[in-house]
């Protein structure tokens, strides 16, 4: 479903702030694969997701989604194929707009927007049902402004919006990092439920090794802009945090030094 080949990206080239963020990152995902992405700070995890999403053009390499070369497409055109959830709960939704309006915006992702009504009556009924499944009490607040919701509710809504139209690829960029542990686990459960329900191909960046191991059927580790570890199948199922730390040292030749990840064991 995703073929990202040899992606290169350098920020602020030629300046004192030059930063090589992607140095030949390559990843192929088959349909239905749920891939978790881990790595230290500055390893290029979010950069990789942003490259796939088309936030900026890559310096080198190519990106194919479902056989379509999207390397030259701007962000809003690629959106047709992608569902996205961001780290900051404020980013994924329009705060000044109602819940149903936000969902209707997402339902028209990649479609031509004309002069028909922004939200139809029929849609509202569907949204009511969808929100009910989340079990957050949002179904009775369809016309409430999204800005009134809590961070967890907003992330859950963003998730629903990302999957309201089945995306070819779901990109989750540390989408539970800003939430408290209880809410984070609830949002992760919703994530897992939606991915399984729709049989989605997904990438999830996380700082939590346990989550990376527990969720999904594929795991990659990034370091210095490259994918350095690629685990799937049975090996992924039997993986432990100790294995991961050990593997990291083996591949990168350095010790794993990210406190958050070690502490969040």
């Amino acid at each position: 479903m995703l073929n990202a080949f040899n992606l290169q990206k350098t920020f602020n080239p030629g300046t004192i702030n030059e930063k090589v963020a992607l140095a030949g990152a390559t990843l192929n995902l088959a349909e239905g694969e749920f891939c978790t992405v881990i790595g230290g700070n500055g390893a290029g995890k979010s950069t990789f997701l942003n490259a796939v999403a088309g936030v900026w053009p890559v310096d080198g390499g190519s990106i194919e989604i479902d056989g379509i070369d999207v390397t030259g497409l701007p962000e809003y055109k690629r959106a047709k194929y992608l569902g996205r959830v961001f780290q900051d709960p404020m980013t994924g939704t329009a705060a000044n707009m109602q819940i149903d309006e936000n969902m209707a915006l997402a339902a028209r992702r990649g479609k031509c927007r004309g002069l028909g009504w922004g939200v139809t009556k029929k849609e509202r009924a569907t949204y009511h049902e969808m929100l009910k499944e989340l079990d957050l009490g949002l179904e009775d607040r369809l016309t409430a402004k999204v800005g009134l919701l809590s961070g967890g509710q907003r992330q859950a809504l963003t998730l629903l919006m990302a999957t309201i139209q089945k995306p070819k690829l779901l990109l989750l960029d540390e989408h539970t990092a800003a939430l408290d542990p209880k809410t984070a686990s609830k949002v992760l459960d919703i994530t897992d439920m939606l991915i399984k329900e729709h049989g989605l191909t997904a990438m999830m960046v996380t700082h939590n090794m346990r989550d990376a191991i527990n969720y999904g059927n594929r795991l990659i580790m990034m370091n210095e802009g490259r994918v350095i570890l690629n685990i799937s199948g049975e090996e992924k199922k039997n993986l432990t945090i100790e294995d991961l730390l050990h593997k990291f040292e083996e591949v990168s030749g350095t010790e794993f030094t990210n406190d958050t990840e070690i502490l969040s064991k």
């Binding site: 404020m90 707009m97 028909g116 922004g118």
Partner: protein, 305 residues
Amino acid sequence: MGIETLIIGMPGTFAQGIIYGIMALGVFITFKVLNFADLSVDGSFATGGAVAAITIISGKSWIYAMVLAFIAGAAAGLITAVLHTVFGIPDILSGILTQLALYSINLRIALNQPNTPISVDKYNLAVSLRYKGYSLTMVVIMVLLIIALMYWFFGTEVGSALRATGTNPAMSKAQGINVNLMKSLGLVLSNALVAFAGALSAQFNGNADVNMGRGAIVIGLAAIIIGEVISNIFKNRNFAVTLIFVVCGGILYYIFMAIVLWLKMPANDMKLFTAIIVALFLAVPYLKNQANSSFRKAAKEGGKK
């Protein structure tokens, strides 16, 4: 001078206020919906006036003149949009550049005359200070139509996309919305409305002046802010009510001005009064909020409990 003169003049004051209200509706699209501080308004208001005056003088009907003014305003908005989205110039600066350029362009449109008179005796006009009651009816019908159209448009798919662009551009892109296109559309519609109001204002006052747009953006903001402050009495207000209050803000603003003039204050001080009124209406909600939750109050009451 007695209060009668003020009261007799009220229909005219209302009509002029509603014309400013229409302009404020245009400003509302950029300032409130798009979150874009567009200063082209000062230029495009006068553009509307100039285009309408010249068209009417050439013997065409006022309907034709209004349509042309609307299109000219849209073109002005497009210039700001191109400066901002294609050349990456910050929003305020793009607007200022367009405004500056329009001063020269407006003079050219008006055949290098700083003031173009269009007398209601010679031409058939949509509105005129001479026929206050008739003009008031005309502008009320127009403003209601515009509000209805805006209410409909911002409820459509494109309108929703435009609103989303103003609230959260990052999210809009992720939902496949062409943010630059939406910004341009907003600027075009906004300036078209402003020029339309300029065309009305020129006919109402019987002349199109190259300086008629000076301070228009502040008047537009004043109308929006005054409208917002008074509409706060309504708990749950929908979009149409918000728009109606923007127009009410325009009317109130012009009533203030009429009172100021009636009090025989020098006309040269008008801009100063405008600035003071806008500053007051901006400050009041903030100060009220401060009074409700200030550190001084917290220290006082915290000590008691």
